[in-house]
């Protein structure tokens, strides 16, 4: 299964909706899409409502994306993370590393 990333921007906030699976085969799709983020953007919301699977490579990619955005002083939020995806994040300790406030439900 592939990963689709749809972006919706209102100027300062960019919502990237992830659909499919985030793993070794698809992680570059997310990285490439984030590279194109406009300089005016202040917050990036990664909507994971339709992200059905993530593995450690996916998390590694996600983390490098988040670090890259934070380096540019862009705030990052993860929204609507499903239970199974959150379980993987939780085992790896992502909420501890990034802060629980990064995760939000719509």
């Amino acid at each position: 299964m592939m990963l689709e990333v749809q972006s919706l921007s209102d100027g300062e906030t960019l919502v990237l909706s992830l659909k499919g699976e985030l793993d070794i085969g698809t992680v570059d799709i997310l990285k490439n899409d984030v590279e194109e983020v406009n300089k005016d953007v202040k917050t990036v919301i990664l909507d994971m409502k339709h992200l059905s699977f993530v593995d450690s490579t996916g998390v590694g990619g996600l983390l490098s994306v988040i670090r890259g955005l934070r380096y540019e002083n862009i705030k990052v939020k993860m929204r609507n993370v499903t239970e199974s995806v959150y379980e993987v994040f939780d085992i790896l300790g992502l909420p501890l590393l990034l802060g629980k406030e990064v995760f939000e439900q719509e």
Binding site: G60, I91, L97
Partner: protein
């Protein structure tokens, strides 16, 4: 239309075109054929066509000519020529029968010079073989890092296995006895697969072996391993999940630090239930200054601790269903009474059966510790 210079067309064609009689004497060859053979057309008389071929090709063309003269057709025939200068020319083409007055007199060949493609294929094949040999050697080295000789510990038994998805991988497992006679259990998984993951696996092995005899505090070891691996992990945007536990055979206590690894499952014999080792922090490579915490648990005779990498839990069958933690817990409950090697073997076999013949997509490592 009558003025089409067919002879010139054939002579200047890029393909190697030739005509021989039944005995293999060359009746005609175009410019491309002479050029490919390093021959000068004007100085070359009475050429026996077969003499320009390699020995294997001579046998092949003899059969092909027989087929063609008997009315059959030969397509995509491979002929290898040896030029006057001693170079080998690889060609591929078709042979057809040449008739005069309704009688088969010889064969007509149109061949394409595929030497550069063939040489590139050969080089690629050689490189592939060399790479495979190197991978095989890397596999031997990596396998040698796996604890084949299991440490002996009083009052407990231990078993370990690894199922590799590729020649080399990112699963890591080590078992040893520390200076204070505790059993050290290290298990980890590097993000990704193949050679990059294997390089980090080897680094992890080296750092753990280096520090494990310097400290009896799991958190201290994990802090050190993290700081040692962090620069490279940060540079390559990778991460390692890592669990390190020390089992004391005198107190039967297991102290541990978990850096983002799947929490090991403990089967409690007294309760007949499974629980997870709860204390855990984020993976290795998250922050350079990470301070990992320690957890501890008191084990009792009959208890089984099951350590594993995510290839087991996330292994999927043909219906894309995951093996899952529930299956692991059920298998532990059903087989806790057996010795550690049998428990490990049963779960290993159940996993392979679950995959329904599908090869595992990720490495799977299992360690079983059972308290007597």
């Amino acid at each position: 239309m009558n003025n089409i210079p067919l002879n010139e067309l054939v002579d200047k064609a890029k393909n190697l075109i030739f005509l021989t009689d039944k005995d293999g004497n060359l009746l005609y060859a175009n410019h491309s054929w002479y050029k490919a053979m390093d021959l000068n057309k004007n100085e070359s008389k009475n050429i026996v066509f077969y003499d320009t071929l390699c020995s294997e090709s001579r046998a092949r063309i003899a059969d092909a000519v027989k087929t063609v003269l008997e009315g059959g057709s030969v397509e995509r025939l491979n002929l290898d020529f040896i030029t006057k200068a001693g170079r080998k020319i690889y060609t591929e083409g078709n042979l057809t029968c040449y008739y005069a007055n309704g009688r088969p007199l010889g064969v007509f060949g149109i061949f394409q010079d595929i030497t550069s493609q063939k040489l590139a294929d050969n080089e690629l094949m050689e490189r592939t073989l060399r790479f495979q040999a190197e991978l095989q050697l890397a596999n031997i080295i990596q396998t040698s890092l796996f604890p084949i000789n299991l440490p002996q510990i009083q009052g407990a038994g231990v078993a370990a296995t690894v199922i590799s998805a590729n020649e080399v991988g990112g699963d890591y497992c080590d078992l040893f006895i520390t200076n204070q006679q505790r059993l050290g259990i290290a298990i980890g998984d590097v993000m990704g697969k193949g050679i990059p993951a294997a390089l980090f696996m080897v680094l992890t092995y080296a750092f753990v072996r280096n520090y494990a005899f310097e400290t009896e505090k799991p958190s201290e070891l994990v802090n050190w391993v993290n700081r040692s691996l962090f620069p490279q992990l940060d540079f390559s945007q990778s991460l390692v999940t890592f669990f390190y536990g020390l089992y004391d055979p005198v107190t039967k206590e297991l102290i541990y630090t978990n850096a983002g690894h799947n929490p090991p499952v403990v089967y409690r014999a007294a309760a007949g239930e499974c629980e997870l080792l709860k204390v855990r922090d984020y993976f290795i490579g998250g922050r350079y200054d990470a301070e990992y915490r320690e957890g501890k648990t008191q084990l009792k005779p009959g208890d089984v601790v099951f350590f594993y990498t995510d290839g087991l839990k996330e292994g999927r069958n043909k219906s894309e269903e995951q093996f899952g933690i529930r299956r692991i817990k059920t298998l532990l409950k059903e087989n806790h009474a057996l010795d550690p090697a049998s428990i490990q073997e049963i779960i290993h076999n159940e996993f392979l059966q679950f995959l329904e013949g599908k090869p595992p997509s990720d490495d799977v490592t299992i360690v079983v510790l059972k308290i007597h």
